[in-house]
Amino acid sequence: MSKLESLTISRARDLLSKREVSAVALTEHYLAKIETSQKLNTFCLTTAELALEKARHCDKLVKSADKGKLCGIPLAVKDIFCTKSLPTQAASKILEGFIPPYESTVTSKLWAENAILLGKLNMDEFAMGSSNETSIYGPAINPWQVAAEMQPLSPGGSSGGSAAAVAADLCLASLGTDTGGSIRQPAAFNGVVGIKPTYGRCSRWGIIAFASSLDQAGPITKTVRDSAILLEIISGHDKKDSTSVANKVPDFEAALDGDMRGKKIGIPAEYRIEGTPSEIIKLWETGIELLRDSGAKIVDISLPHTKYSLPTYYVLAPAEASSNLARYDGVKYGYRATLKKGEGINKLYEKTRSEGFGDEVKRRIMVGTYVLSAGFYEAYYQKALKVRSLIRKDFENVFSKGINAILTPTTPSPAFPLGSKGDKSPVEMYLNDVFTVPANLAGLPAISIPTGTTDNGLPLGLQIIGPAWKEAEVLNVAFRLEQDSGFKFKPDQWWTR
C-alpha cells in the first residue's frame, strides 16, 4: 500500500515537513483519486489547476518558519462556503451561476495557513435534508455498502458529500456545517469524525445562511486529532459576524491526553427512545463501559425536555430559513425565470422561486412563513423560543452539577438506502435528527465519532455533548473512545472498480 493511502492531517504534516512527500505529489494523489471516484458524486466542483498552483507554492515554503500550520494539506469544503471567484451554489438551482466576490471567514483561515483547496462538496440543497437527496447535483453516495447488489446507501446530510469524501479518502479532511446535525449525522453514517463547535466559536460570515441562530461550521476528519487541528484554525472572533465570540481559542491538539480519571460522564435517560435498534443500544453500552474502564465516573442524568427538541427545531429552523431565503428573488444574483409577455415583478419572484427551489426547501420556507404569520406567530414561533430556553436550561442544570460531558448515540439508525425514506412523509426523514438537534438548540459543542459497526459492517457513531466553550473536553473524551474502541475507518474501495 502506498504511504499516501489513508493519510491523516497529522501524519501528512510530518511527511511534508520531513520532505518525504511533496505537496504537489500529495495533491496529485488526491486529484487522481477524485477522478476515479466519480461514482460517489461527492465533488460538485474540482479545482485541480488552482490546487496544483498552490501546492507548488507550498513546496517552496517547506523550510520557511512561517509556512503556515496546514502548509500543503489538501482539503475540500462543502458547497455552502462562499469561495472567492469559484462557483458556490449550496446545491441549489437558484444559485446557478453565482460566483462569490468574497471568501468566507473560516475558509480564508484555512488558506491563510496554506491549506490546499481540492474542490467543493455535495450537500443537501441549502443544507436542508438528512440524506443528500435534495441536492441539485443528485445525491452523494456513501462509500460503505453491505453488498454490491444492494441499493446504494445515503451518506446522510446535509454535509453528506463532506463526510463521504473523507471516508473514501478523497481528501485529508473537509469542512461541513451543522444546523441540526448536518456534520454529526453524516460523520456517523460514513465512519468518520465530525464536530459542531459551540455557537459563536466560528464565524458564519460568508457561509450561505439556513438558520442563523443554529448554523455552525466544523471539520469532518478521519481522526479526533485532525478535528482538533482544524477546529483550532477555523475558530475565533470575527468582526464581520457579531454572533461570533471573542473567547480565547485553546490549543485543542495539546489538550488531547485521553485522561478520563475523575471525569463525570452523563447518560441521559431520555435518549433511550423506543424503537432504537439493539445494535445502537449495544454500541452505546460498550462506549459507557470503555469510559468507565478508563476511569470516568458514569452518572445517570435527565434532560426532561429532550422529546420537544424536534418539534422546536422544526418551528425555529424553517422560520429563520423563510427569512434568510427571502433574498433569492431572481434580481441580484443566481437563477432568473423567463417571463411571458405581460407578466410583472410579482410573477418574476414567484416563478423564479418556484423553478429555483426544490420541494424540501419550498416546504420549509412555507412552514416558516406559516409560523411567522399573523395569528400563528405566538402559538408556534414564540412558544418554540420558550421551549428552546427550557431545553437549554436542562443542559445547564446537568453541567452545573459537575457533569463534564454527555454520551449518546449520534443517530437512531445506521445509513439507510437512498430513496428509502421521506419520499412521501418529510416527517419520517426529520426523525433522523432526534439525537443531534438538542445541541444546536442549546448552542453546545458536540462531536460524533465512529466506535463500532452493525452486524453487517456499517459504521455507527457515538455523540459527546459538552458545556459551552468546552470543545477541548469533548475532543478529549472522543480521543479516549477512539483509542479504546479500535474502529477502523476504511471502507472497501468498490467504487474504483
Partner: protein
Amino acid sequence: MSIDNDLVKKIANLAKIELSANDIKMFSKQIGEIIGLMNQLNAVDISDVPGLDADSSKGHTNRTEDIVKDGNYIELILQNAPESKEGFFTVKKVIE
C-alpha cells in the same frame, strides 16, 4: 393530518412561490404532517418561562458601530446579476 388548500395558497403567496394544483395537494398533506409534529409543543407548560426579551437583552453586547470599511465595487457585484444596466439591477417595468 392535512391542512386545506386555501391555506397553502395563502402561505405560498406570502412566500412568493408559484405552485401548481398538484403541488398544492402534495404540500397540503405534507405541511399538515409537519404542523402535527409542531403541535406536540402544546403539551409543554411555558407559563413560567420569561419572554425572549429578557434573554436576548444579554445577546447584543458585541454590537459595534456600523462603519463602512470597503465598497465601490459595483461592477463586481453586478457581474452576478441576471440583468443590469448603467450600474443598476434591472427588472421588468413596475406599473401599478
